[in-house]
Subunit: 230 residues, 2 copies
């Protein structure tokens, strides 16, 4: 390999490899095979080899990958050799939990500001920080060189939060609010949506229960569903 453009699917797995590799150094391992790394990361070894080949030829045939060196290369590729300043917008239950969450400072993400619109929260301390006014977002982003915005507002407030982050120049947003956000093409947006994850689990769980019911011979009334066509 050589030359740019790492597939998105690969980018999404690199942090997983990185975590496994860090665990491995902690257990004193010097080298690791694609097979071993695959097992630790919960993927298969062909995927590991192909993914790593996009970064360069960093393995040694017959031996495997040097753990330390691979950590360095993946970190560099992911931009983790520098720290990133983040702002959490919305200091409710979730915002507070995120602010308190140790171990995402762990990989160079620093929560540099907490903002909210609620006047009763502004000025109050949360985890050795003080909640600031959402109205000051632009200034805060510029002064503290914030590059990542974490949206932890209600669904209703989330689009406004995102718009303000974007106009303050933030180009990376992580959305925890249960709503679809619109952002310009040059802004990266990822979402974490608890209730969607639960609904996906529900789908497969239901399918399992249905299967179980059939297996017990209880016979599902297959289409007692045609009900109320409008």
């Amino acid at each position: 390999m050589r030359e740019r453009a790492i597939p998105e699917a690969t980018v999404a797995r690199l942090p997983l490899y990185l975590r496994s590799l860090v665990d491995m150094t902690e257990r004193g391992m010097q080298t690791i095979s694609s097979e071993g790394l695959a097992e630790a990361a919960g993927v298969n070894s062909a995927k590991v080899r192909k993914d790593l080949s996009y970064l360069g030829s960093y393995g040694t045939r017959g031996v495997g990958y040097d753990v330390e060196y691979l950590i360095y290369q993946i970190s560099r590729e992911l931009g983790l050799t520098q720290d990133w300043n983040c702002v959490i917008v919305g200091v409710g239950n979730l915002g507070r939990a995120l602010a308190n969450y140790r171990g995402f400072g762990e990989r160079g993400f620093r929560v540099s500001a907490l903002v909210d619109i609620d006047e009763t929260k502004i000025g109050k301390p949360v985890d050795s920080m003080v909640v600031e006014d959402f109205a000051d977002l632009e200034r805060i982003v510029k002064e503290r060189e914030i590059s990542i915005g974490i949206v932890a507002t209600t669904a209703a407030a989330a689009q406004d939060a995102a718009d303000r982050l974007v106009s303050a120049g933030v180009k990376s947003i992580l959305n925890f609010a249960p709503t679809v956000l619109q952002v310009p093409d040059d802004v990266s947006l990822r979402k974490v949506d608890l209730s969607i994850e639960l609904q996906i689990l529900s789908f497969y769980e239901q399918r399992k229960s249905a299967l179980e019911t059939v297996r017990r011979g209880k016979r599902l009334t297959a289409s007692a569903s045609k009900s109320t066509r409008p």
Copy 2:
């Protein structure tokens, strides 16, 4: 269409459509085109039509989809016509925030138990519940017919939490701990990993900064990276 096997990618989007549709009824809309639903859900209309076609032919050509009817069909497909009991394992910052999170009871997910190993937490109230002993997990799962386990422990404790959930008969697990969990094939596992999401954003953010630097003519020292090969 007809006959089973809805693609995974489609299953993952159904909750998104459902949410948009619910918003639409609240705004009094009776019917919606694939184009309109696509816009609301942040996807394209071909995808909407193909996805919905896996559920059946629920649209009307020349008109669109009946909002209420589609809500019913998607809910049924996702297994949301019944309630699901959940247990949160690990009552730290995150576990507490999840316990307090209103609006995932909203779609029929009921937090029926909070458990932890920490004796100083057991017996204490959290959001109108009392933290129970992790040791009693099997009994609690059986008694309350819990089908979904939410792992909000530390990385170190997560595999044990998952193992115990599995042996208690739980077949759906949502993992918030920053570690890869091993579960049997018949158990559905989904994960929410804050720090991985941030690392993915970091990758694209870095790429943007690099591009910006080049654009300013500052020329990136392209491979000042071959550094410390081992």
